[in-house]
C-alpha cells in the first residue's frame, strides 16, 4: 500500500531524517591509515573522487580548507590524505603518509591554504585541479561527514550530491526537455536502478549537469550509449 503524503507527515520523529549512512560498512570501516576517519580517510576519499572525476593525474592542485579542516588539518594529516587521494591512493594505502613525496615524483604541484567565505559542513574542502596542458580544470567542493563517509556537494559550479559509494554517472548536458527521460530510459533498458539523482543547471536552456548514483555493477557500454545522445556533452562513470 502507498502511504499518502499526510500519513507520511504524521509518522514518528526520526523517520523524516535523511539516512546519511546507508550500510554496515559505513559504520564498521573503512580499513584505513590513521589518525582520523573524517580528517584522514574521508579526506583521502574526497581527493580520490576528485582524481577520478578529473580522469588523470593533475599537474597542479589547489586545496582550500574550511572549518575544522582548516583548524586541524596539519595534526590530522588531512592535507597529506587529500594529496594521497589525488594520487589515486585508497584509505589504507601504506604510501598515504608519504603522499607529498609521491606527489613530487608524479610532478603534481600542490598549494594548501585556508578558504574564505561560507561552507556547508564543519569538514569542508574545495579542490581545484589543472592538467599539464592547462586546458582542463576541475573545481569540486567535498564534505567529510564522519566515519570516513563523504558527500561531494558541488562540481564545477553545479550544486549536486554524490557519496562515491555507488557506481555513479556524472553527465554534462544541455538543459532541454526530455534529456533526463532519454538517459533514464537507457538505464531501464540495461536494468539499472537509480538510488539517488541530482540535477542542476547554470541557466534555463543553458548548461546542466546530472548525477545518478546507481545500484550494482555498471556496464561501460551504457556510458557509450549515453555519450551519443545529442544533448549530452560529457559522461563520466565514477566507480571507486
Amino acid at each position: 500500500m502507498i502511504a499518502s503524503f499526510r500519513q507520511m507527515c504524521n509518522r514518528r520523529n526520526g523517520e523524516n531524517k535523511t539516512v546519511r549512512f546507508k550500510d554496515v560498512f559505513s559504520i564498521i570501516g573503512p580499513a584505513m591509515v590513521g589518525p582520523s576517519s573524517s580528517h584522514t580517510a574521508g579526506a583521502a576519499r574526497i581527493g580520490r573522487t576528485a582524481r577520478h572525476l578529473f580522469g588523470e593525474c593533475p599537474s597542479h592542485a589547489e586545496i582550500l580548507m574550511f572549518g575544522s579542516f582548516a583548524a586541524t588539518y596539519k595534526g590530522h594529516g588531512t592535507d597529506t590524505a587529500i594529496v594521497g587521494g589525488l594520487l589515486d591512493m585508497e584509505t589504507d594505502d601504506p604510501g598515504l603518509p608519504d603522499a607529498f613525496a609521491h606527489a613530487d615524483t608524479a610532478g603534481m604541484e600542490t598549494i594548501i591554504r585556508p578558504g574564505t567565505g561560507l561552507y556547508p559542513h564543519p569538514n569542508t574542502v574545495e579542490i581545484a585541479l589543472t592538467n599539464a596542458a592547462g586546458d582542463r580544470t576541475l573545481n569540486m567542493l567535498g564534505t567529510s561527514i564522519g566515519g570516513g563517509n563523504i558527500e561531494i556537494v558541488r562540481i564545477n559550479g553545479y550544486n549536486l550530491k554524490l557519496t562515491a559509494l555507488y557506481p555513479t554517472l556524472i553527465i554534462r548536458h544541455s538543459d532541454e526537455p526530455g534529456v533526463i527521460a532519454v538517459v533514464t530510459r537507457l538505464l531501464v533498458d540495461n536494468r539499472i536502478n537509480i538510488g539517488h539523482m541530482s540535477v542542476d543547471r547554470k541557466n534555463r536552456r543553458g548548461e546542466a549537469m546530472m548525477v545518478l548514483e546507481c545500484d550494482g555493477k555498471m556496464n561501460p557500454a551504457v556510458v557509450q550509449q549515453i555519450e551519443v545522445i545529442p544533448e549530452v556533452q560529457e559522461v563520466t562513470l565514477l566507480s571507486l
Binding site: 520523529n13 526520526g14 523517520e15 531524517k17 535523511t18 539516512v19 546519511r20 549512512f21 546507508k22 550500510d23 554496515v24 560498512f25 559505513s26 559504520i27 564498521i28 570501516g29 573503512p30 580499513a31 584505513m32 591509515v33 590513521g34 589518525p35 582520523s36 576517519s37 573524517s38 580528517h39 584522514t40 580517510a41 572549518g67 575544522s68 583548524a71 586541524t72 588539518y73 596539519k74 595534526g75 590530522h76 594529516g77 589504507d92 601504506p94 598515504l96 603518509p97 564543519p122 569538514n123 567529510s144 561527514i145 564522519g146 566515519g147 570516513g148 545500484d215 550494482g216
Partner: protein, 290 residues
Amino acid sequence: MNFRTLKQLAELAETRNLRLGQLMLEEQCHESGEDKDAVFDQMREYYGIMKSAVHQGLHTDTTSKSGLTGGDARKLMAYRADGQSLLGHASLSMSYALAVSEVNASMGRIIATPTAGSCGIIPGVFISSQERFGWTDEQMVYGLFASGAIGYVIANSSFISGAEGGCQAEVGSAIGMAAGALVDIRGGSPSQSIHAVGLALKNTLGLICDPVAGLVEIPCIVRNGFGAITALGAADMALAGVRSIIPSDEVVQVMLEVGSAMPESLRETAGGGLAQTPTGRKITRDLQHK
C-alpha cells in the same frame, strides 16, 4: 535497512527470531545486493585487521609523529602481568583499546569503528573477551554486525563525528555499539542489547572533542581505554537485568540535542577544552616550532 530506531531493531530481531548480528547480516545483503558469504568475508577481514592492530600496538614502537604519545598499552600490559591490577581481566580490554588507538595515532592500519578517533574500543573489548570466553571468530564477526546495526541507528539519528557532535558522538557511540554487541554475543536478548546502548550512552553525554594541537592523541587515546571499561560495565548491567529507564532512542536524541548546542570550539577545532589549557597551548606552540 528495515529499521530506523533501536526499538525497531530489537523488535525486528525478536520477530524474526534472530540475534542482532544475524539480522544485520541479512539486512546488509538486502541493501548491497551481495551474497551472505561475500558480506561476511569482508567483515571477517576487518576483524583480522583489528587483531593485527592489537598485536602491533603491543609489540612495536607506537610513538606518534608528534612524539606526544605511544607505549602506554605496553606499560599497562607490564603492570597487569602480576595479576594485581585493580580492574582484573578488564585491564586487558583497556590495554588492547589503548594499543589500537596508539597504532592509529602513529598512522598505522586500523578499522574505523565508527571512527578512527574511537577505533580502540570495539577491538579492545571484542578481542580480550574472545580470549577470555573462548568465542569463535565467527561469533565475533556476527558481533561486529550487531555493533554496526546499533551504530547505523545512532549515526542516522544523531551523529558519529566529533566535528558535528563532540567526543560523545565518537567515543560515546563506540561504547554503546560495543556494549550492545557484547550482550548479543554473550546470549542476552535484543532488548537487553538495546538497554546496554542506552545505559552506556548516558555516561558520555556532553563529552566534548578537544584534541590538543588538533591531534587524535590527547585525550583521544586514554578515552578509548576508559571507553572499553564503560562498555564492559554497561553490558554487565544490561545482562544483569538493569534497564535504561529513559529509552535508548530518547538518549540518542539527547546526544543530538547536546551536540547541536555545543560551541564550535569544543567540536574538533582545538579551540577549547584541553587543547586550550596552558599546557595544551604550549604543546601546540612547541609542535609548530618543531
